[in-house]
Amino acid sequence: MSIDIKSVSKTFGTFEALKNVSLSVGDAELVALLGPSGSGKTTLLRIIAGLDTPDTGSILLNGDDATNRGAGDRGVGFVFQHYALFRHMTVMENVAFGLRVQPKSIRKSKADIRDRVMTLLKLVQLDWVAQRYPAQLSGGQRQRIALARALAVEPKVLLLDEPFGALDARVRRELRTWLRRLHDEINVSCVFVTHDQEEALEVSDRVAILDSGRIEQVGTPQNVYDNPANPFVYSFLGNVNLFHGRVKEGKATVGDFEVDTPEYRNASDSPAVGYSRPHELELSRERSGNDSLSAVILQIQAVGPNVKLRLKRTESEDILEAEITREKLRELELKTGESVFVKPRLVRVFIADPSETPLNYQI
């Protein structure tokens, strides 16, 4: 089932949660709504589900206007952040609930319901806890039961609100992969909300990045990471280093080096900021051409297979963060306090005009 969100706005009291948001989700797509707290992603999800109503705008499900349809009539399944399992019912009763409250005309027989529940429990690999109560399950188990319960009524869209938010890191990673496989198996459209960019980029077909009630960019994970639309998206998807400079007629001068920026071909002389990721900074002991910056190493920290360095530029007070492999560290024999040269392999330039509003990309 496809979902079309058209110009939806929502205000709570004086707080504008969503400002004129539009988005399309295709059939059987897995889309992530990514953003910081307060960006409006959960509000948007709840509006799709019918748990909140938009002030303006409409929601179309498979082309039909569903804005005024009740939450139970939309054919959506919703998985809550804290699971919202019915605490006084067993796992079996929880999962069967949606089937048991159907009107008598379409309700399945008791035996059919039981079969369907067991099938679903096997799908989520929890058929052995059918008689237990939610309080007796772990967080990860509860999450999977919540998912099974939502799937029981065969929804055409699955909506998940920070599904792995309350779980510890290892369980999160496992469930992430598991969700992706499940989606591929059952082929239902999925929209899930998260604030974890790693999760969004790893699991989804497309990512919509929200900030302060607006969609900043929509695209495939690869696309938004490689071609961020604006500084917010860039910073949100990973650590950044900033280089202040200027842009003029297609050429950016950032620090000591120049970068070709054809997208700003027509720009008059304007201040600009260059962004580089920590692993895009190359370190060397010798200056290599005009486009190296000199810096002093403040701190070296080994993190798993890589090494993170904090450096301070000698020409300005800027702090840089670089990430290199252990081999590289050994090769250069770097130590704190030493001077090195930093060359960004890749710089993404944005004009530093505070009034510029980011474009809403749609692919």
Binding site: D52, T53, P54, D55, T67, N68, A71
Partner: protein, 274 residues
Amino acid sequence: MKTKRNILPGFGISTGFTMTYMSLVVLIPLSAVFLKAASVDWSQFWTTITAPRLMASYRLTLGTSFISACLNAMFGLLVAWVLARYEFPLKRIVDALVDLPFALPTAVAGIALTAIYSQNGWFGRYLEPIGIKVAFTPLGIVVALMFVGLPFVVRNVQPVLEDLDKEIEEAARSLGATRWQTFRLVIVPTILPALLTGFALAFARGLGEYGSVVFISGNLPNTQITSLLINTKLEQYDSAGATAIAVVMLVISFALLLGINLLQARTRRFQEAV
């Protein structure tokens, strides 16, 4: 385009029924008091509520309620402290017993207390010879109000003490505070709002109390509480006079109710802040 305001079903019917029922059973009958009072000539109203007997009853009612609430604050704190922090045999039964004044009808409490403190009663026979008359004196009213108001203090303070994170006390001790300092500087401020609320609730309850007080007070000239005087006026078919006094009591009660709700709201915010 019409959008629904609340998502869960039943808003209209539940709120509608609630408001209708409240109006029919509570608000409209209560308005009868104010409407009747409004129909009475102001000077007559004023004369009624400032009559000497009534002024004496205000002093008595306010005074005994205040004193009993203070005593309840002390003893209630003691009981709440012991219940929240210590273990001892039969603790469950004692805990249940604290609610007895809530569950016991006021008339029963009234006659039982009178029996105990009257001249031949269990306590009365020892107290009267040494000059402490309880029954049929204001002191008796204080005792009765203490009985009725005790659970308010205990049940307000006990949960706060129980929720008091022992780590906070340990933190204070690790920073060098003595046990007494910990009590004074850490524990007391935490329970003070709850204690105040319990005090206010006991005080408010004491102001309007009738059943438990009417027996032990004996309706003597110096033991007439205000609610008793309302009843007396009614028995004399002076509904205007009764209404006038009722207005005074209601105004004070509502002011107290508002104050208590505000206090409770502040307390809740306090506790959530952590």
